[in-house]
C-alpha cells in the first residue's frame, strides 16, 4: 500500500517515461522561472528601500545570494544523484548528476562575479581572500573537476560513474574546506563584515530575495529537464522509443 512512491519512482527512472515527464514540465518550469524572476527583480531593484549603509549597491544580493545558494543546492543534488547512480546503476541518475554539473558551475561562477562586482565598492577591491569567496572558488573547481573527469572517459557511462564518485568525495570535503578556510581567514586578517545577518533584514528586502530563490530553482529544473532530455536521446540513440520520436518529428 505504501510502496506506490518507490514504484512511481522506479517507473519514472525509465528514460522514455522521464523524457515525456520532463517534456511536459519543462515549459511550465521555464515560464514560472521567468515570471518569478521578473517579479523578484522588480521587487528588489525598484520596490525595496535602499540600504542605510550601502546605498543601492547592496541590490546585487538579489542575484548574488540566490546564485550562491543554488551552487550549493546543485552540488547536493549532484552528490545525491551520483550516489544513486553508483549504488543502483540507474542511468537516469547518472545523467541528472552529470547534466547538473555545468548548471551548478554557471551559478557558482555568477556568484563569484557578482561577489567581486559588489566587493569593489564595499571593500575597495575586486577580490579579497574572504572565507566565503574562497570556499566558493573551491566549489567552482570541484564542479570543473567533475565536468573534466566526465569528459576524460571514452565510455560515457563509466565517466559518469567516476565523476559521480568524485562528486561524493567532494561532498565530504566541502565542509572541511570551509572550516579550514574560515580558520585560515581569521589567522591572516580580521573577519570581514557580516552582511547577511538574516534577522536584521527587513521584509521589504527579504521577499524579493526569497522570490528570486524560487525563480532560480525553477530555472534549474527547466534547464536540467532540457539538458537531460537531449542527453537521453543521445545515449539511447538506437532504442525504439527514440526512433518513434524521431519519426513523429519527421512527420510534422
Amino acid at each position: 500500500m505504501s510502496n506506490w512512491i518507490p514504484l512511481w519512482l522506479h517507473r519514472l527512472s525509465s528514460p522514455p517515461t522521464f523524457y515525456r515527464f520532463a517534456g511536459t514540465l519543462q515549459p511550465w518550469a521555464m515560464t514560472l522561472a521567468l515570471l518569478l524572476g521578473a517579479v523578484a527583480l522588480y521587487g528588489g531593484l525598484v520596490l525595496a528601500p535602499a540600504d542605510y549603509q550601502q546605498g543601492d549597491a547592496y541590490r546585487i544580493i538579489f542575484i548574488h545570494v540566490p546564485s550562491a545558494w543554488m551552487g550549493m543546492f546543485i552540488y547536493a543534488v549532484m552528490g545525491v544523484a551520483g550516489f544513486i547512480a553508483l549504488v543502483w546503476r540507474i542511468k537516469l541518475a547518472e545523467v541528472v548528476a552529470m547534466q547538473s554539473a555545468p548548471i551548478g558551475a554557471a551559478f557558482t561562477f555568477i556568484t563569484l562575479v557578482t561577489g567581486s562586482l559588489w566587493g569593489k565598492p564595499m571593500w575597495g577591491t575586486w577580490w579579497t581572500w574572504d572565507a566565503r569567496l574562497t570556499s566558493e572558488l573551491v566549489l567552482l573547481f570541484l564542479f570543473l573537476g567533475v565536468i573534466g573527469l566526465y569528459h576524460a572517459f571514452e565510455d560515457r557511462r563509466q565517466g559518469a560513474r567516476a565523476a559521480a564518485f568524485l562528486a561524493i568525495v567532494g561532498v565530504i570535503n566541502v565542509p572541511i574546506v570551509h572550516f579550514s578556510v574560515n580558520w585560515w581567514n581569521t589567522l591572516h586578517q580580521g573577519s570581514t563584515v557580516n552582511v547577511f545577518g538574516k534577522s536584521t533584514m527587513s521584509w521589504d528586502m527579504l521577499w524579493p530575495l526569497l522570490t528570486m530563490t524560487l525563480a532560480t530553482k525553477c530555472y534549474y529544473a527547466a534547464s536540467l529537464f532540457r539538458r537531460v532530455r537531449t542527453d537521453l536521446l543521445d545515449l539511447e540513440g538506437g532504442k525504439d522509443w527514440v526512433r518513434q520520436i524521431a519519426e513523429s518529428e519527421a512527420d510534422r
Partner: protein, 211 residues
C-alpha cells in the same frame, strides 16, 4: 574426482548477459561447469569471449542473468582467491624476475601444498631463467612465467584468455598438460581460443558465443 561425483556445479550461469553502451555484447548464455571439467569458450573475434571471462573473474560488473558459485549466488568475498585469471596482459612486473613475481603472488594467495617455486619454474621450462628480469625474457617465456603462477597458487577455477598465444608447439603441449593435471586434481578451467585445441583428458565442454 569426476564430474559425476559432484552434483552441485562449481559455476553455473543462467541467462548471463552483458551490455556495453546498451548493446548486448553476447546473447544470453546458459552453462555449468563442474569440478574436474574443462570448458572451451568458442566464438569469432568480437563475440565477447574476453568480456565473459573478465566478468566471471569479477573485473567487470555483472550484466543480466544469474551466476552461481557452488550453488549459491556468486559473491566477491565468497570465492576470493579461488578464481585465477590470465588475460592478454600477464600481470608480471617487468623489472622483477620470474621468481620474485611468483613470490609476490604466493605472498597474497599462498601456495599449493608440496610445491616449491624452483620446481614449478622448472616444470614450465624456465630453468636457468629464474632470476632474469622478466623484461629480458621472450614473449613465450613470459607466458610460461605467468603459467607458473597458475600452477603455484591454490585456486579452483582457472579463467584463461588465449593461453596458447605466443607459444610454440612444446608450449602448447605444456598448457594442455597443465590443464589436464589441474582438472585431474579436481580443478576446473575455462579457456578461450580461436583455434581448435587437442585435449587428451576427454572431450571438453564447449560454450559457444554469439555476438
Amino acid at each position: 574426482m569426476t564430474a559425476a561425483s559432484t552434483t552441485v556445479p562449481l559455476l553455473q550461469a543462467r541467462a548471463l548477459s552483458f551490455h556495453r553502451q546498451d548493446e548486448p555484447v553476447f546473447a544470453p548464455l546458459d552453462f555449468q561447469l563442474h569440478a574436474g571439467e574443462l570448458a572451451l569458450v568458442e566464438g569469432d573475434n568480437g563475440s565477447g569471449k574476453t568480456t565473459l571471462l573478465r566478468m566471471l573473474a569479477g573485473l567487470l560488473h555483472r550484466g543480466g542473468g544469474e551466476l552461481l558459485w557452488r550453488g549459491e549466488a556468486l559473491q566477491r568475498d565468497q570465492c576470493a582467491g579461488q578464481i585465477l585469471f590470465l588475460g592478454h596482459q600477464l600481470g608480471l612486473k617487468a623489472d622483477l624476475s620470474p621468481r620474485e613475481n611468483l613470490r609476490i603472488a604466493a605472498g597474497l594467495h599462498g601456495t599449493r601444498e608440496g610445491l616449491g617455486m624452483a620446481s614449478v619454474l622448472a616444470d614450465v621450462g624456465l630453468r636457468g631463467y629464474e632470476d632474469e628480469p622478466v623484461r629480458r625474457l621472450s614473449a613465450g617465456q613470459k607466458k610460461r612465467a605467468a603459467l607458473a603462477r597458475l600452477v603455484l597458487l591454490p585456486a579452483t577455477l582457472w579463467l584463461l584468455d588465449e593461453p596458447y598465444a605466443n607459444l610454440d608447439r612444446i608450449g602448447i603441449a605444456l598448457v594442455n598438460h597443465l590443464l589436464e593435471k589441474h582438472t585431474a586434481a579436481g580443478g576446473a578451467a575455462m579457456v578461450t581460443s580461436h583455434g581448435t585445441v587437442s585435449f587428451h583428458g576427454g572431450e571438453p565442454r564447449r560454450i559457444r558465443m554469439h555476438g
